[in-house]
Protein backbone atom coordinates (compact mmCIF):
# COMPACT_ATOMS: atom_id res chain seq x y z
CA UNK A 1 0.00 0.00 0.00
CA UNK A 2 1.15 3.55 -0.81
CA UNK A 3 2.64 5.15 2.35
CA UNK A 4 0.10 7.96 2.29
CA UNK A 5 -2.84 5.55 2.56
CA UNK A 6 -1.18 3.69 5.47
CA UNK A 7 -0.73 7.03 7.26
CA UNK A 8 -4.31 8.18 6.57
CA UNK A 9 -5.73 4.84 7.76
CA UNK A 10 -3.81 4.97 11.03
CA UNK A 11 -4.70 8.63 11.69
CA UNK A 12 -8.39 7.82 11.17
CA UNK A 13 -8.29 5.64 14.30
CA UNK A 14 -7.51 8.75 16.39
CA UNK A 15 -10.87 10.40 15.64
CA UNK A 16 -13.41 10.30 18.47
CA UNK A 17 -17.17 10.60 18.41
CA UNK A 18 -18.49 14.16 18.40
CA UNK A 19 -15.18 15.86 17.66
CA UNK A 20 -14.83 18.99 15.54
CA UNK A 21 -11.98 18.17 13.15
CA UNK A 22 -9.95 20.17 10.61
CA UNK A 23 -7.98 18.21 8.02
CA UNK A 24 -5.10 19.88 6.18
CA UNK A 25 -4.32 19.53 2.49
CA UNK A 26 -2.53 16.41 1.17
CA UNK A 27 -2.31 13.20 3.24
CA UNK A 28 -4.65 14.57 5.98
CA UNK A 29 -7.49 14.95 3.44
CA UNK A 30 -7.34 11.19 2.78
CA UNK A 31 -8.28 10.45 6.41
CA UNK A 32 -11.97 10.97 5.52
CA UNK A 33 -11.98 7.69 3.56
CA UNK A 34 -10.92 5.57 6.57
CA UNK A 35 -13.08 6.83 9.44
CA UNK A 36 -14.64 3.87 11.31
CA UNK A 37 -18.39 3.60 10.65
CA UNK A 38 -19.37 4.02 14.31
CA UNK A 39 -17.47 7.31 14.62
CA UNK A 40 -19.32 10.52 13.79
CA UNK A 41 -17.34 13.74 13.64
CA UNK A 42 -17.95 17.23 12.24
CA UNK A 43 -15.47 18.63 9.75
CA UNK A 44 -14.48 22.29 9.90
CA UNK A 45 -12.69 23.99 7.05
CA UNK A 46 -10.89 27.29 7.61
CA UNK A 47 -12.53 28.93 4.58
CA UNK A 48 -15.71 29.04 6.65
CA UNK A 49 -17.79 25.91 7.16
CA UNK A 50 -18.67 23.34 9.80
CA UNK A 51 -20.36 20.23 8.44
CA UNK A 52 -18.30 19.81 5.30
CA UNK A 53 -18.61 16.43 3.58
CA UNK A 54 -17.01 14.88 0.50
CA UNK A 55 -18.79 15.79 -2.75
CA UNK A 56 -21.72 13.33 -2.76
CA UNK A 57 -21.55 12.71 -6.51
CA UNK A 58 -20.18 14.24 -9.66
CA UNK A 59 -22.42 16.91 -11.12
CA UNK A 60 -23.35 18.33 -7.71
CA UNK A 61 -20.43 20.77 -7.60
CA UNK A 62 -21.44 24.21 -6.33
CA UNK A 63 -19.04 27.05 -7.24
CA UNK A 64 -19.46 28.59 -3.77
CA UNK A 65 -18.90 25.38 -1.78
CA UNK A 66 -15.27 24.37 -1.56
CA UNK A 67 -12.66 23.22 0.95
CA UNK A 68 -9.47 25.07 1.91
CA UNK A 69 -7.78 23.65 -1.20
CA UNK A 70 -10.50 25.07 -3.50
CA UNK A 71 -11.86 21.60 -4.28
CA UNK A 72 -15.61 21.17 -4.54
CA UNK A 73 -17.18 19.58 -1.45
CA UNK A 74 -20.61 18.82 -0.07
CA UNK A 75 -22.28 19.84 3.18
CA UNK A 76 -24.27 17.71 5.61
CA UNK A 77 -27.78 18.70 6.68
CA UNK A 78 -27.24 21.09 9.59
CA UNK A 79 -24.00 22.52 8.23
CA UNK A 80 -23.13 26.15 8.98
CA UNK A 81 -21.14 28.74 7.02
CA UNK A 82 -19.38 31.79 8.43
CA UNK A 83 -16.70 34.37 7.67
CA UNK A 84 -12.94 33.97 8.08
CA UNK A 85 -12.79 35.91 11.37
CA UNK A 86 -15.20 33.51 13.07
CA UNK A 87 -13.54 30.54 11.38
CA UNK A 88 -10.17 31.43 12.90
CA UNK A 89 -11.84 32.37 16.16
CA UNK A 90 -13.05 28.77 16.30
CA UNK A 91 -9.50 27.56 15.64
CA UNK A 92 -7.59 29.93 17.96
CA UNK A 93 -10.28 30.04 20.61
CA UNK A 94 -9.91 26.38 21.57
CA UNK A 95 -13.17 25.21 19.97
CA UNK A 96 -11.49 22.85 17.49
CA UNK A 97 -10.88 19.39 18.96
CA UNK A 98 -8.39 18.09 16.43
CA UNK A 99 -6.35 19.15 13.44
CA UNK A 100 -4.37 16.82 11.19
CA UNK A 101 -1.61 18.52 9.22
CA UNK A 102 1.20 17.57 6.89
CA UNK A 103 4.80 18.23 7.91
CA UNK A 104 8.25 18.93 6.54
CA UNK A 105 10.08 18.37 9.86
CA UNK A 106 9.26 17.59 13.49
CA UNK A 107 11.96 17.79 16.14
CA UNK A 108 12.74 16.27 19.56
CA UNK A 109 10.72 18.99 21.29
CA UNK A 110 7.73 18.14 19.14
CA UNK A 111 8.00 21.37 17.18
CA UNK A 112 6.57 21.28 13.66
CA UNK A 113 7.95 23.02 10.57
CA UNK A 114 5.63 22.90 7.58
CA UNK A 115 5.33 26.25 5.86
CA UNK A 116 8.55 27.13 4.06
CA UNK A 117 11.94 26.01 2.81
CA UNK A 118 14.00 29.23 2.73
CA UNK A 119 15.32 29.99 -0.75
CA UNK A 120 13.39 27.13 -2.31
CA UNK A 121 9.74 26.85 -1.50
CA UNK A 122 7.74 29.63 0.10
CA UNK A 123 4.05 28.76 -0.14
CA UNK A 124 3.19 30.72 3.01
CA UNK A 125 1.67 29.57 6.25
CA UNK A 126 -1.99 29.95 5.25
CA UNK A 127 -3.93 28.76 8.28
CA UNK A 128 -1.25 26.35 9.58
CA UNK A 129 0.20 28.62 12.29
CA UNK A 130 -3.25 29.30 13.74
CA UNK A 131 -4.23 25.62 13.58
CA UNK A 132 -1.10 24.37 15.37
CA UNK A 133 -1.31 27.14 17.95
CA UNK A 134 -5.03 26.86 18.66
CA UNK A 135 -6.35 23.31 18.13
CA UNK A 136 -6.85 21.18 21.24
CA UNK A 137 -4.97 18.29 19.62
CA UNK A 138 -2.49 18.38 16.71
CA UNK A 139 -1.56 15.28 14.72
CA UNK A 140 1.19 15.46 12.11
CA UNK A 141 0.61 13.04 9.22
CA UNK A 142 3.70 12.76 7.04
CA UNK A 143 6.06 10.30 5.37
CA UNK A 144 8.91 9.22 7.64
CA UNK A 145 11.62 10.45 5.25
CA UNK A 146 11.85 12.53 2.11
CA UNK A 147 14.30 11.37 -0.59
CA UNK A 148 15.92 9.19 2.11
CA UNK A 149 16.44 12.14 4.48
CA UNK A 150 14.86 11.87 7.95
CA UNK A 151 12.02 14.30 8.66
CA UNK A 152 11.99 13.57 12.39
CA UNK A 153 15.09 15.48 13.44
CA UNK A 154 16.98 16.61 16.55
CA UNK A 155 16.21 20.25 15.88
CA UNK A 156 14.18 21.69 13.01
CA UNK A 157 16.39 23.45 10.47
CA UNK A 158 13.33 24.89 8.74
CA UNK A 159 11.32 27.80 10.20
CA UNK A 160 8.85 26.58 12.84
CA UNK A 161 5.11 26.77 12.36
CA UNK A 162 4.54 27.13 16.11
CA UNK A 163 6.39 26.56 19.37
CA UNK A 164 3.48 24.43 20.60
CA UNK A 165 4.42 20.77 21.03
CA UNK A 166 2.37 18.62 18.65
CA UNK A 167 0.51 15.68 20.18
CA UNK A 168 1.20 12.82 17.77
CA UNK A 169 3.28 12.01 14.68
CA UNK A 170 1.97 9.33 12.34
CA UNK A 171 4.19 8.05 9.50
CA UNK A 172 4.08 4.93 7.33
CA UNK A 173 6.74 3.40 9.64
CA UNK A 174 5.73 4.48 13.13
CA UNK A 175 3.51 6.30 15.58
CA UNK A 176 5.45 8.70 17.81
CA UNK A 177 4.21 10.76 20.73
CA UNK A 178 6.15 13.91 21.60
CA UNK A 179 6.36 14.48 25.37
CA UNK A 180 8.28 16.60 27.89
CA UNK A 181 10.87 13.82 28.09
CA UNK A 182 11.23 13.52 24.31
CA UNK A 183 9.79 11.54 21.42
CA UNK A 184 8.17 8.29 22.54
CA UNK A 185 8.03 5.53 19.93
CA UNK A 186 4.63 3.91 20.51
CA UNK A 187 3.97 1.77 17.42
CA UNK A 188 5.93 0.25 14.55
CA UNK A 189 4.53 -0.79 11.17
CA UNK A 190 4.47 -4.58 10.62
CA UNK A 191 6.43 -3.93 7.40
CA UNK A 192 9.55 -2.63 9.19
CA UNK A 193 11.89 -3.47 12.10
CA UNK A 194 12.82 -1.30 15.06
CA UNK A 195 16.26 -0.93 13.47
CA UNK A 196 14.69 0.41 10.24
CA UNK A 197 12.80 3.04 12.22
CA UNK A 198 15.85 4.12 14.23
CA UNK A 199 17.95 4.31 11.04
CA UNK A 200 15.35 6.53 9.35
CA UNK A 201 15.01 8.86 12.35
CA UNK A 202 17.60 11.52 13.22
CA UNK A 203 16.00 12.42 16.55
CA UNK A 204 16.52 10.26 19.64
CA UNK A 205 13.53 8.06 20.34
CA UNK A 206 12.37 6.77 23.70
CA UNK A 207 11.09 3.28 23.04
CA UNK A 208 7.81 2.73 24.82
CA UNK A 209 7.69 -0.19 27.28
CA UNK A 210 4.38 -0.95 25.64
CA UNK A 211 5.65 -0.85 22.01
CA UNK A 212 2.92 -2.09 19.68
CA UNK A 213 2.56 -3.13 16.08
CA UNK A 214 0.79 -0.44 14.07
CA UNK A 215 -2.67 -1.54 12.96
CA UNK A 216 -3.00 -0.74 9.27
Amino acid sequence: MDPKFIIAKRVAKELKNGQLVNLGIGIPTLVVDYIPKDIKVLFQSENGIIGMSPLPEEGLEHPDLTNAGANYVGAIPGAACFDSALSFGIIRGGHLDLTVLGGLQVDEEGHLANWMVPGKLIPGMGGAMDLVTGAKRVIVAMTHTTKGEPKIVKRCTLPLTSIRRVDLIVTEMAVIEPSKEGLILKEISPEVTLEDVLKSTEASLIISKDLKVMEV
Binding site: G69, C81, S84, I122, G124, M125, G126
Partner: protein, 244 residues
Amino acid sequence: MIRNLDFIRYIIFKNSENETSKNKEEEIAVRLLNVEEAIKMIPDGAIVMIGGFLGVGSPNTLIDEIIKQKRSNLTIIANDTAFPDKGVGKIIVNKLAKKVIVSHIGTNPETQKQMIERFLEVELVPQGTLVEKIRAGGLGLGGILTPTGVGTIIAEDKQIMNIEGKDYMLELPLKADFAIIKAKRSDCNGNLVYSLTARNFNPIMATAASTVIAEVEEILPVGTISPDEVHTPGIFIDYIVKSR
Protein backbone atom coordinates in the same frame (compact mmCIF):
# COMPACT_ATOMS: atom_id res chain seq x y z
CA MET B 1 -24.64 57.11 6.31
CA ILE B 2 -23.44 57.71 2.78
CA ARG B 3 -19.74 58.39 2.70
CA ASN B 4 -19.48 59.48 -0.92
CA LEU B 5 -21.29 62.68 -1.71
CA ASP B 6 -20.98 62.17 -5.44
CA PHE B 7 -23.17 59.07 -5.44
CA ILE B 8 -25.34 58.40 -8.39
CA ARG B 9 -29.04 58.12 -7.94
CA TYR B 10 -30.72 55.39 -9.88
CA ILE B 11 -34.29 54.39 -10.15
CA ILE B 12 -34.17 50.78 -9.17
CA PHE B 13 -37.55 49.61 -8.20
CA LYS B 14 -40.53 50.29 -10.35
CA ASN B 15 -43.39 48.01 -10.79
CA SER B 16 -43.80 48.62 -14.49
CA GLU B 17 -46.19 45.72 -14.92
CA ASN B 18 -48.82 47.68 -13.07
CA GLU B 19 -50.06 50.86 -14.81
CA THR B 20 -51.22 52.51 -11.60
CA SER B 21 -47.89 52.01 -9.95
CA LYS B 22 -46.24 54.52 -12.28
CA ASN B 23 -47.08 57.29 -9.86
CA LYS B 24 -45.55 55.34 -7.03
CA GLU B 25 -42.19 55.00 -8.71
CA GLU B 26 -39.79 54.75 -5.90
CA GLU B 27 -36.45 56.46 -6.20
CA ILE B 28 -33.86 54.83 -4.06
CA ALA B 29 -30.34 55.98 -3.50
CA VAL B 30 -28.10 53.04 -4.16
CA ARG B 31 -24.84 53.79 -5.66
CA LEU B 32 -25.11 51.45 -8.59
CA LEU B 33 -22.26 51.74 -11.03
CA ASN B 34 -21.26 49.95 -14.17
CA VAL B 35 -17.98 48.14 -13.86
CA GLU B 36 -16.00 50.59 -16.02
CA GLU B 37 -16.99 53.57 -13.84
CA ALA B 38 -16.26 51.61 -10.67
CA ILE B 39 -12.70 50.71 -11.60
CA LYS B 40 -12.01 54.22 -12.98
CA MET B 41 -12.22 55.45 -9.39
CA ILE B 42 -9.21 53.35 -8.37
CA PRO B 43 -5.94 55.18 -9.09
CA ASP B 44 -2.63 53.52 -9.89
CA GLY B 45 -0.72 52.80 -6.68
CA ALA B 46 -3.86 52.33 -4.57
CA ILE B 47 -4.09 49.93 -1.63
CA VAL B 48 -6.88 47.50 -2.50
CA MET B 49 -8.43 44.72 -0.42
CA ILE B 50 -9.88 41.91 -2.53
CA GLY B 51 -12.25 39.29 -1.11
CA GLY B 52 -12.08 35.58 -1.85
CA PHE B 53 -10.37 32.35 -0.85
CA LEU B 54 -8.36 30.79 -3.70
CA GLY B 55 -10.70 32.59 -6.10
CA VAL B 56 -13.92 31.42 -4.43
CA GLY B 57 -15.94 34.50 -3.50
CA SER B 58 -13.74 36.88 -5.51
CA PRO B 59 -15.23 39.85 -7.40
CA ASN B 60 -14.26 38.51 -10.83
CA THR B 61 -16.05 41.15 -12.94
CA LEU B 62 -14.18 43.90 -11.07
CA ILE B 63 -10.87 42.02 -11.23
CA ASP B 64 -11.21 41.57 -15.00
CA GLU B 65 -11.86 45.29 -15.36
CA ILE B 66 -8.76 46.19 -13.27
CA ILE B 67 -6.79 44.17 -15.81
CA LYS B 68 -8.60 45.75 -18.78
CA GLN B 69 -7.93 49.26 -17.47
CA LYS B 70 -4.37 48.28 -16.45
CA ARG B 71 -4.52 49.71 -12.94
CA SER B 72 -0.91 49.28 -11.86
CA ASN B 73 1.47 49.51 -8.88
CA LEU B 74 -1.29 48.22 -6.65
CA THR B 75 -0.83 47.00 -3.10
CA ILE B 76 -3.18 44.05 -2.76
CA ILE B 77 -4.46 42.76 0.57
CA ALA B 78 -6.11 39.37 0.12
CA ASN B 79 -6.13 35.91 1.66
CA ASP B 80 -3.97 34.45 -1.13
CA THR B 81 -2.92 35.00 -4.74
CA ALA B 82 -5.20 32.16 -5.95
CA PHE B 83 -4.25 30.52 -9.24
CA PRO B 84 -2.66 32.15 -12.32
CA ASP B 85 -6.00 32.10 -14.17
CA LYS B 86 -8.32 32.78 -11.24
CA GLY B 87 -9.26 35.68 -8.92
CA VAL B 88 -6.40 37.80 -7.56
CA GLY B 89 -3.98 35.54 -9.47
CA LYS B 90 -4.82 37.27 -12.74
CA ILE B 91 -3.73 40.65 -11.34
CA ILE B 92 -0.37 39.11 -10.40
CA VAL B 93 0.11 37.46 -13.80
CA ASN B 94 -0.57 40.82 -15.48
CA LYS B 95 2.13 42.43 -13.29
CA LEU B 96 -0.22 45.06 -11.89
CA ALA B 97 0.73 44.59 -8.22
CA LYS B 98 3.88 45.90 -6.55
CA LYS B 99 3.09 44.41 -3.15
CA VAL B 100 0.80 41.73 -1.73
CA ILE B 101 -0.14 41.16 1.90
CA VAL B 102 -1.48 37.58 1.97
CA SER B 103 -1.36 34.32 3.95
CA HIS B 104 -0.57 31.97 1.06
CA ILE B 105 1.04 32.11 -2.39
CA GLY B 106 1.64 28.39 -2.93
CA THR B 107 -1.01 27.90 -5.61
CA ASN B 108 0.31 30.65 -7.88
CA PRO B 109 3.87 30.00 -9.15
CA GLU B 110 3.88 33.45 -10.81
CA THR B 111 3.77 35.15 -7.38
CA GLN B 112 6.89 33.34 -6.23
CA LYS B 113 8.62 34.03 -9.54
CA GLN B 114 7.96 37.79 -9.32
CA MET B 115 9.02 37.74 -5.67
CA ILE B 116 12.40 36.16 -6.56
CA GLU B 117 12.82 38.68 -9.43
CA ARG B 118 12.13 41.40 -6.82
CA PHE B 119 9.32 42.79 -8.95
CA LEU B 120 6.76 41.96 -6.29
CA GLU B 121 7.04 42.44 -2.55
CA VAL B 122 5.30 39.65 -0.61
CA GLU B 123 4.32 40.05 3.05
CA LEU B 124 3.10 36.74 4.49
CA VAL B 125 0.72 36.89 7.45
CA PRO B 126 -0.97 33.92 9.17
CA GLN B 127 -4.52 33.70 7.88
CA GLY B 128 -6.23 34.16 11.25
CA THR B 129 -3.97 37.12 12.03
CA LEU B 130 -4.59 38.71 8.62
CA VAL B 131 -8.34 38.65 9.01
CA GLU B 132 -8.11 40.06 12.56
CA LYS B 133 -5.78 42.88 11.40
CA ILE B 134 -8.40 43.83 8.81
CA ARG B 135 -11.17 43.55 11.39
CA ALA B 136 -9.19 45.80 13.75
CA GLY B 137 -8.75 48.32 10.92
CA GLY B 138 -12.44 48.35 10.15
CA LEU B 139 -13.84 48.25 13.65
CA GLY B 140 -11.79 50.86 15.44
CA LEU B 141 -9.30 48.73 17.34
CA GLY B 142 -5.68 49.76 17.85
CA GLY B 143 -4.44 46.26 17.14
CA ILE B 144 -4.90 42.68 18.25
CA LEU B 145 -2.99 40.29 20.52
CA THR B 146 -2.62 36.80 19.10
CA PRO B 147 -0.68 33.74 20.30
CA THR B 148 -0.22 32.67 16.65
CA GLY B 149 3.40 33.00 15.53
CA VAL B 150 4.93 33.63 18.96
CA GLY B 151 8.46 32.15 19.02
CA THR B 152 8.65 31.79 15.21
CA ILE B 153 10.50 33.93 12.65
CA ILE B 154 7.43 36.11 12.08
CA ALA B 155 7.65 37.33 15.70
CA GLU B 156 11.20 38.65 15.32
CA ASP B 157 10.19 42.30 14.91
CA LYS B 158 6.96 42.10 16.91
CA GLN B 159 6.10 43.32 20.38
CA ILE B 160 5.35 40.41 22.74
CA MET B 161 3.01 40.92 25.66
CA ASN B 162 2.46 38.48 28.49
CA ILE B 163 -1.18 38.38 29.54
CA GLU B 164 -2.13 36.18 32.49
CA GLY B 165 0.95 34.02 31.98
CA LYS B 166 0.64 33.51 28.23
CA ASP B 167 2.63 35.26 25.47
CA TYR B 168 0.81 37.14 22.73
CA MET B 169 2.06 39.10 19.75
CA LEU B 170 0.85 42.62 18.96
CA GLU B 171 -0.44 42.93 15.40
CA LEU B 172 -1.46 46.31 14.04
CA PRO B 173 -4.63 47.19 12.11
CA LEU B 174 -4.82 47.09 8.31
CA LYS B 175 -6.85 49.52 6.21
CA ALA B 176 -7.15 50.14 2.50
CA ASP B 177 -8.14 52.83 0.01
CA PHE B 178 -10.57 50.46 -1.68
CA ALA B 179 -12.15 47.11 -0.90
CA ILE B 180 -13.62 45.15 -3.77
CA ILE B 181 -15.76 42.34 -2.49
CA LYS B 182 -18.26 39.78 -3.79
CA ALA B 183 -21.70 38.89 -2.44
CA LYS B 184 -24.52 36.73 -3.74
CA ARG B 185 -27.17 39.41 -3.52
CA SER B 186 -27.77 42.94 -2.41
CA ASP B 187 -30.82 45.06 -1.89
CA CYS B 188 -30.97 48.62 -3.21
CA ASN B 189 -29.56 49.90 0.08
CA GLY B 190 -26.48 47.71 -0.21
CA ASN B 191 -27.46 45.16 2.42
CA LEU B 192 -25.47 42.07 1.44
CA VAL B 193 -26.00 38.30 1.62
CA TYR B 194 -23.11 35.97 0.86
CA SER B 195 -23.19 32.39 -0.38
CA LEU B 196 -21.70 29.37 1.48
CA THR B 197 -17.88 29.41 1.61
CA ALA B 198 -17.75 32.38 -0.79
CA ARG B 199 -18.23 34.59 2.28
CA ASN B 200 -14.70 34.22 3.77
CA PHE B 201 -12.87 37.61 3.92
CA ASN B 202 -15.61 39.64 2.18
CA PRO B 203 -17.66 40.88 5.17
CA ILE B 204 -14.52 41.79 7.12
CA MET B 205 -12.99 43.75 4.23
CA ALA B 206 -16.30 45.59 3.77
CA THR B 207 -15.54 47.40 7.05
CA ALA B 208 -11.92 48.38 6.46
CA ALA B 209 -11.58 50.52 3.32
CA SER B 210 -12.32 54.19 2.54
CA THR B 211 -14.38 53.13 -0.50
CA VAL B 212 -16.12 49.77 -0.70
CA ILE B 213 -17.36 48.36 -4.00
CA ALA B 214 -19.51 45.23 -3.80
CA GLU B 215 -20.00 43.01 -6.82
CA VAL B 216 -23.27 41.07 -6.59
CA GLU B 217 -25.16 38.55 -8.70
CA GLU B 218 -28.62 39.95 -8.00
CA ILE B 219 -29.95 43.32 -6.87
CA LEU B 220 -33.27 43.14 -5.06
CA PRO B 221 -35.78 45.76 -3.94
CA VAL B 222 -35.41 47.12 -0.42
CA GLY B 223 -37.41 45.06 2.05
CA THR B 224 -37.00 41.71 0.31
CA ILE B 225 -34.05 40.64 2.47
CA SER B 226 -35.13 40.01 6.05
CA PRO B 227 -33.13 42.05 8.60
CA ASP B 228 -32.04 38.81 10.26
CA GLU B 229 -30.57 37.52 7.01
CA VAL B 230 -28.37 40.52 6.23
CA HIS B 231 -24.69 39.56 6.58
CA THR B 232 -23.25 43.02 5.88
CA PRO B 233 -25.41 46.10 6.59
CA GLY B 234 -25.62 48.48 3.61
CA ILE B 235 -23.97 51.36 5.46
CA PHE B 236 -20.60 49.76 4.75
CA ILE B 237 -21.17 49.68 0.99
CA ASP B 238 -20.45 52.69 -1.21
CA TYR B 239 -21.06 51.24 -4.67
CA ILE B 240 -22.68 48.18 -6.17
CA VAL B 241 -21.69 46.54 -9.44
CA LYS B 242 -23.55 43.66 -11.02
CA SER B 243 -21.57 40.51 -11.91
CA ARG B 244 -21.25 39.79 -15.61
